[in-house]
């Protein structure tokens, strides 16, 4: 895809991010961090795509590690955020 197009998406997404995230109250800053951390585990998609390129043993091992580490980030991040947020919800 064209570089400029990707840059456009990148810059616009940052602006969207800034707009929403400034509205997150301090009470929820820790869940915001762990939740956004889980989102950054989206590298998982990249790791899966890169699996189509592996041929040697080295690249296979690297690819496995990439998928596993990103998956830890995703699963751990979402579950721990859920655990925290459930504590906030109880009082409603």
């Amino acid at each position: 895809m064209e570089l400029v197009l990707l840059l456009t998406i990148f810059v616009l997404a940052i602006f969207v991010g800034v707009e929403i995230i400034t509205k997150v109250p301090p009470t929820l800053h820790t869940p915001l961090m762990s939740g956004s951390n889980a989102i950054s585990g989206i590298t998982l998609v990249g790791a899966i795509v890169s699996a189509g390129l592996v041929s040697t043993t080295v690249t296979k091992v690297l690819c496995f590690l990439a998928v596993a580490l990103a998956m830890i980030n995703v699963v751990g991040g979402y579950l721990v955020t859920h655990r925290m947020l459930s504590m906030f919800r109880k009082k409603d």
Binding site: A13, P25, T27, H29, I48
Partner: protein, 460 residues
């Protein structure tokens, strides 16, 4: 599957990620938001897996299972007080994954697939990912208070060394772009960036960790976005930049709450030797020590009580005792609030999570700016494991922490400071609050002090 459908699925996932973060703007919608975000991830992954050709599928499944189990285990087993460490580690893993994806693409991709744009992005993911990886692990070691990491440490001429390493990184990045067939330059670049991660975080002290954790969070997002540029993948770019923005905003909030610039937090240090009285001058003859029985009597008729928690509360694991105290005082008809400084604890929102864990209603967790104007009407303020964030010297021009916004507990009718000793906080300066006429020092462990207090109040 037709690539168009995949990209539409990625678009849907991106929208769900944005909605997910939007849900976090209120505690009521936050759980749903997190779930939408998780569904977005599931969607993005499920449309990607069938794209794998050849024998890569087994590797991916093995990785998903292994990572999933470790993630499940970590999320269940870690204590709430250890949340900053866990987030630091997760950041590091995200960074590592970005480096590895860059490496695999470089080593496995044909030259027709990997153009100049991709090579620049691969270099960027090596740099950002490398810094995030080891920077986060050092942050983890500091938060865990592992020996050798706990205290700030800088080599002589650290800044010059960092600058040299940075130049080295640029040279290596140019090599990666010029000669992609040789992966050594890439791994050298990732290695150098990792070392830079260590040397950048090592000199930073424990109380500045909220800034570092937030900044590394931002980096892990930017690393993911860089990976998106490597693979021409929109969902990576969008979600990566959302996280990048989130981390930057939190970093900014933390810096403002300390009245310090990011550069000062990362490279400077507080000069405690600057103008200001010594501990002896501030404290001598003015410290009034108190006991649980005396504080209980003070609290007997108190209508409004305000607790200022700090990192000390987390260390002492005092939050359960605090909950008992909260319930007891509320049952007696008093209003108990918590005044929360933005940098209290070791990560943004740290105190809120600990107090939510023990069922303190979130509307009782009041931000500094909201509670400060009404502190005059507080009968008893209890400072629990906080120090610099309640130091009235921050209002003086010549203080090392001049201009830092503080919680104005000195304006409360009576202040009880629960603390082990008169030792200074992170800024290394004495706190005149302890010597004020309306201050009482309650020396002891935070958890035990609150427990004793509860017992005494019950006996009233």
């Amino acid at each position: 599957m037709n690539p168009i459908w995949i990209n539409i699925a990625y678009l849907v996932a991106s929208v769900l990620f944005i909605r997910g973060i939007k849900g976090l703007t209120h505690p009521r919608t936050a759980v749903r938001g997190n779930m939408e975000s998780a569904i977005a991830m599931l969607l993005a992954v499920s449309v990607t897996v069938p794209q794998i050709v050849g024998n890569g599928l087994e590797i991916v499944i093995a990785g998903l299972v292994a990572g999933g189990l470790v993630g499940l285990f970590l999320s269940r087993w870690v204590e709430m007080t250890e949340m900053p460490q866990l987030v630091a580690v997760f950041n590091g893993f995200g960074g590592a994954a970005s480096v590895l994806v860059g490496g695999v693409t470089l080593m496995g991709g044909s030259s027709s697939l990997v153009g100049v744009q991709e090579l620049i992005a691969i270099s960027a993911s090596a740099v950002i990912g490398g810094i995030t990886l080891l920077g986060s692990l050092v942050a983890f070691a500091k938060l865990q208070e592992i020996k050798g990491f706990k205290n700030p440490f800088a080599l002589p001429g650290q800044r010059a060394i960092n600058a040299l390493m940075f130049i080295g990184a640029i040279v290596l990045a140019i090599k990666v772009v010029q000669n992609p067939a040789d992966p050594m330059a890439f791994w050298a670049l990732a290695g150098l960036a990792s070392i830079l991660g260590i040397t950048l975080v090592m000199p930073i002290g424990g109380a500045d960790m909220p800034v570092v954790v937030a900044l590394l969070n931002s980096y892990s997002g930017l690393a993911a976005a860089a990976t998106g540029f490597v693979l021409n993948n929109t969902v990576l770019i969008i979600s990566g930049s959302l996280v990048g923005a989130s981390g930057l905003i939190l970093t900014n909030i933390m810096c403002k709450a300390m009245n310090r610039s990011l550069v000062n937090v990362l490279f400077g240090k507080i000069d405690a030797s600057a103008a200001g009285a010594t501990a002896d001058e501030v404290y001598e003859g003015k410290i009034k020590s108190t006991s649980a029985a005396e504080v209980a009597m003070l609290l007997e008729d108190a209508e409004r009580v305000c607790i200022v928690p700090g990192y000390g509360m987390a260390v002492a694991q005092a939050q359960h005792a605090v909950r008992d105290f909260f319930n007891l005082m509320e049952d007696r008809g008093a209003t108990v609030e918590f005044a929360i400084h933005p940098v209290a604890g070791r990560m943004p929102g740290h105190m809120n999570v600990l107090l939510a864990e023990v069922d303190i209603p979130y509307d009782r967790l009041v931000e500094m700016d909201h509670i400060n104007p009404s502190l005059e009407t507080v009968d008893v303020a209890i400072v629990l494991g906080a120090n610099d964030v309640v130091n009235p010297d921050a209002r003086k021009q010549d203080s090392p922490i001049a201009g830092m916004p503080i919680i104005d507990v000195d304006k409360c009718r009576t202040v009880v400071v629960i603390k082990r000793s008169l030792s200074p906080g992170f800024a290394g300066i004495p706190n005149p609050l302890f010597a004020l006429d309306n201050s009482l020092m309650f020396f002891g462990d935070g958890k035990k002090a609150i427990q004793d207090l509860v017992t005494e109040i019950k006996d009233l």
